[in-house]
Symmetry: C2
Subunit: 163 residues, 2 copies
Amino acid sequence: MNEAKAPETEKSEPIQRLGEIGLSNFAPYLMNRIMGRYNADLRQEMTGLGLTTPKMRALAVLSVIDDLPISDLAVYAVVEQSTLSRALDQLASDGLVRRGPDPNDSRVTRIGITGTGRAALDQLWPSMARVYAQMFKDIPDEERQAFVTTLQKMLKNIRKHDF
Amino acid sequence: MNEAKAPETEKSEPIQRLGEIGLSNFAPYLMNRIMGRYNADLRQEMTGLGLTTPKMRALAVLSVIDDLPISDLAVYAVVEQSTLSRALDQLASDGLVRRGPDPNDSRVTRIGITGTGRAALDQLWPSMARVYAQMFKDIPDEERQAFVTTLQKMLKNIRKHDF
DNA sequence: GATTTATAATTGCAAATGCATATTATTTTG
DNA sequence: CAAAATAATATGCATTTGCAATTATAAATC
């Protein structure tokens, strides 16, 4: 049932295979596990508020950076553009966001969060904060700060956009 | 377009809101962004091999820990049990895994990876390794090790199972 | 400045997803 | 040890997803 320990040979680096690294040393695996749980834990609360993951993510981003073009919002929120388009349909008809024109480019629709939208997110925030706190339980502030710094570097490394 | 800087007041801790923390200091946000890109980058390669994310994840886990009960595999692979069940249908009919009985509990089906399954994963591995390397580009080994250590603590903190 | 090329957003449609349920087997309880 | 509760897997079904194509606008090219 337990995963095999990799041999202690520490020679050059001939492209290790996953079995050698081990799941529990492979950062993408651990991150997927952690985020899977994080998202699953929140889904419960979101359902109660009539939100889905894409809708919640859009609101969360907009609560920090308002009035984004849909294409930018899709990047920030990590949601496919077509999925986001439909999520926004629902958010707009529930009055949580509003679509507005862009003054400079009439192809663009900018999305603004409404007071109702902020209120909905405020209702969810305690749960998000709770799961967040649980994640970092017993992890010193300094370690968490270093962790976030590494994450910021990683995002810079692999992102395809400037933000 | 840029996100607002939080005020420098460092008093007690009255439950910060997301706007105060800032997206780029909120670990779950950064992790979602990074994993979104990681998974998107791999999807291309997977499609070429007839794999989907759930199928790839199942194979990746099995390449390290073989012969798992489906319910355990679902946890390791971060895939819903019903989704995994159907992914395994396809993997089995393509000969990449095989379903076998559990000697002790006849409710359980154990999944084993086949040679063909390992071969398929081997074809994908260079891409996984490439994206992995890209993520940690210019990040010193020591920092990456510390990062993984923190991830391991986080997983322990939030996981619902013993592994 | 007309034509080609690129970008933003929406929508049609087939496939994938996840919840609830069904089925079979095991464990616990009275 | 029979009955009830729990567990593992599979499946029906409505919803969601994502790719590809569409529409509309802007930018680039000739």
